[in-house]
Symmetry: none
Subunit: 403 residues, 2 copies
Amino acid sequence: MYPDVIQQLVVKNDSKIIFLVMDGVGGLAHPDKGGTELQVAKTPNLDALAAKSSCGVFDPVYPGITPGSGPGHFGLFGYDPLTANIGRGVLEAAGIEFKLTGRDVAIRVNFATSDTAGNLVDRRAGRLATEENQRVCAKLRERIDLKDMNVEVFIEPVKEHRAAVVFRGDNLSGDLEDTDPQKTGVPPKAPTATSEEGKKMIPLVTKFLEQAHKILADEPKANTMLLRGFARYVPYPSMEDRYGLNALAVANYPMYRGIALLLGMKLHPITADIRTQFEAVKEQIGNYDFFFVHIKYTDSRGEDGDFDAKVKVIEEVDSLLPILTGINPDVMVVTADHSTPAILKAHSWHPVPVLLRAKYARVDRVSAFNEIDCIAGSLGRQPMVNLMPLVLANSLRLQKYGA
Amino acid sequence: MYPDVIQQLVVKNDSKIIFLVMDGVGGLAHPDKGGTELQVAKTPNLDALAAKSSCGVFDPVYPGITPGSGPGHFGLFGYDPLTANIGRGVLEAAGIEFKLTGRDVAIRVNFATSDTAGNLVDRRAGRLATEENQRVCAKLRERIDLKDMNVEVFIEPVKEHRAAVVFRGDNLSGDLEDTDPQKTGVPPKAPTATSEEGKKMIPLVTKFLEQAHKILADEPKANTMLLRGFARYVPYPSMEDRYGLNALAVANYPMYRGIALLLGMKLHPITADIRTQFEAVKEQIGNYDFFFVHIKYTDSRGEDGDFDAKVKVIEEVDSLLPILTGINPDVMVVTADHSTPAILKAHSWHPVPVLLRAKYARVDRVSAFNEIDCIAGSLGRQPMVNLMPLVLANSLRLQKYGA
């Protein structure tokens, strides 16, 4: 209901919206550091911006749910992550900018090594060199043939031992379990369906694997493959369709570029560092309505459990922030797709701070951008899927509802 | 969707969760006492715990709704009280630990006294002695016969003038109005249906009442009965089914024991006082995952309108709290099923304070456990049905959602 009403109210104008997403920036207090990563980091620019903004804390999905990157970002852009959950295979294919269609099932592949008895000895094929991966994929692509099953197959290398396989045909299903047994010393699992629809896929997947194993038999490392994250691609309405927004993603990591592509954003070429990312926004400001700027390393350092390094990334972003604020966009948002507390070394369920700066944002008393101060902000605590309607409202892109 | 997703994410581990429920503890400021019951009570242990916890205020059902004990507790355990509202008859039967089945309609009975004209003179049969009630129920049980209607009937005494009747058969409905006219000087109301399905019950209920009135005709006090809270029993998925939690209820009052039973909890034998309740948790900590500890007298003193006595109960709980905190559970929650402000002498719609202590709980600046301080907590204001997902997350019993 709510998303439908929002979509009906949308109007276009020439306002500019910048979404600065510090991946996993939400944290927890470190027992020896005197606060969370955001509290400990020296962030004079973020704090000054918070003082002029509406602040709040938002649950990426719903309270208690720890999101993967897919649901985390879907929520950010106003797509309900409970209904629009995206499969791992689709994310993998999107991450290499493969153009999926509504007839596709995408699968994430790990090349692996098995012994003569067929038991796995290395689930990552010795972290195969990417060039080897490309060679192996070319060989498979040339010789795999599923035409008699009325299915087209695409085999695309990713990095190291990872690849993406896409089946294209009518009435395909993604309802299959991973064939990866998650351990060595045993053979890959046979394809298994999780629904009646999935059962119809078994002959296709079995035939694909039989052909692939023959083709790979003489490979020294990549002599088998594990299929993971089977997912049918259901196209999402784009940001343009839903919000009338011409959006640019300034993101350097495949998964986030993939998500942006799935939502109809254009992709900026990969940039060298955060400074060049921010400068890219400045250069492109006349050409797009909406800018998704993705900072990866806050999440990476959180997953490493390196509190101090995460603080440093936050401080680097803060020091470069004037490049973005200097553009003076109509709406500026700073937030995260989820928390990745360094003390937990993993994504977590904790809500993330949100800062929304706009001419008509109701400024509250929050003057520090962190998880604890933002609790007292004028946005309160909400599910993240509510943020995009607030952004549209603040950019005066939503008409009045009802007479 | 949200509850379904939570259920899909559940994993088991050996964490321990304690839920301390101070029934009706939420209050309102008394004009002469300088605060709410929780603010006025000296609670050094609760306050110290709050200082190390995530705090918030939760709406038992939704804003403005004053819950009965059923919906209040359903929300606590993550069962949406708007969709899983439980009938009064089912609560009454569960409270005497009657084992309901999916073919049952349960009814709460008041024995009453009527005059020779059939008009009620006492709606509680002079608060019949429980022993008399047992005798009357035995007499009814022996002689009531609904076999020709393909219905089995159970008649169980509760306390004083109260009993429970259960009809067991196919396609029974609970869609009937109370026959209690809520006043004397008039006869009991005739059975009236509130739906088409309920209409099919009229012959059964009429026949049951005709037989009962004949059997009771010679009783000096209990010569009639009022039927209340007709409710078909729809079995709920248990805490084990939904959360993988092996739960123990340490509750001394029938209704709460009944609710626990309906959700698949085991029941600890009734204990003498709050100290023995808490010690029971300590003794049983190795045998269960989840402990529901129910304190009744905060609610009772609130309903009495006795502000000072409610304060005293809170202080007693506080003084004994170290027995529970000394167990050092992985997740400790202190909250209530609803508010019962002494100045209102009744359940109310006001949200209740929540304290959640866990290793990875985001500690906020709240350092006093009461309705006003907890507003500034990191949990914000939420519907109570969100608490259980947060508890599961904090006990690391929820996997990541999506890739």
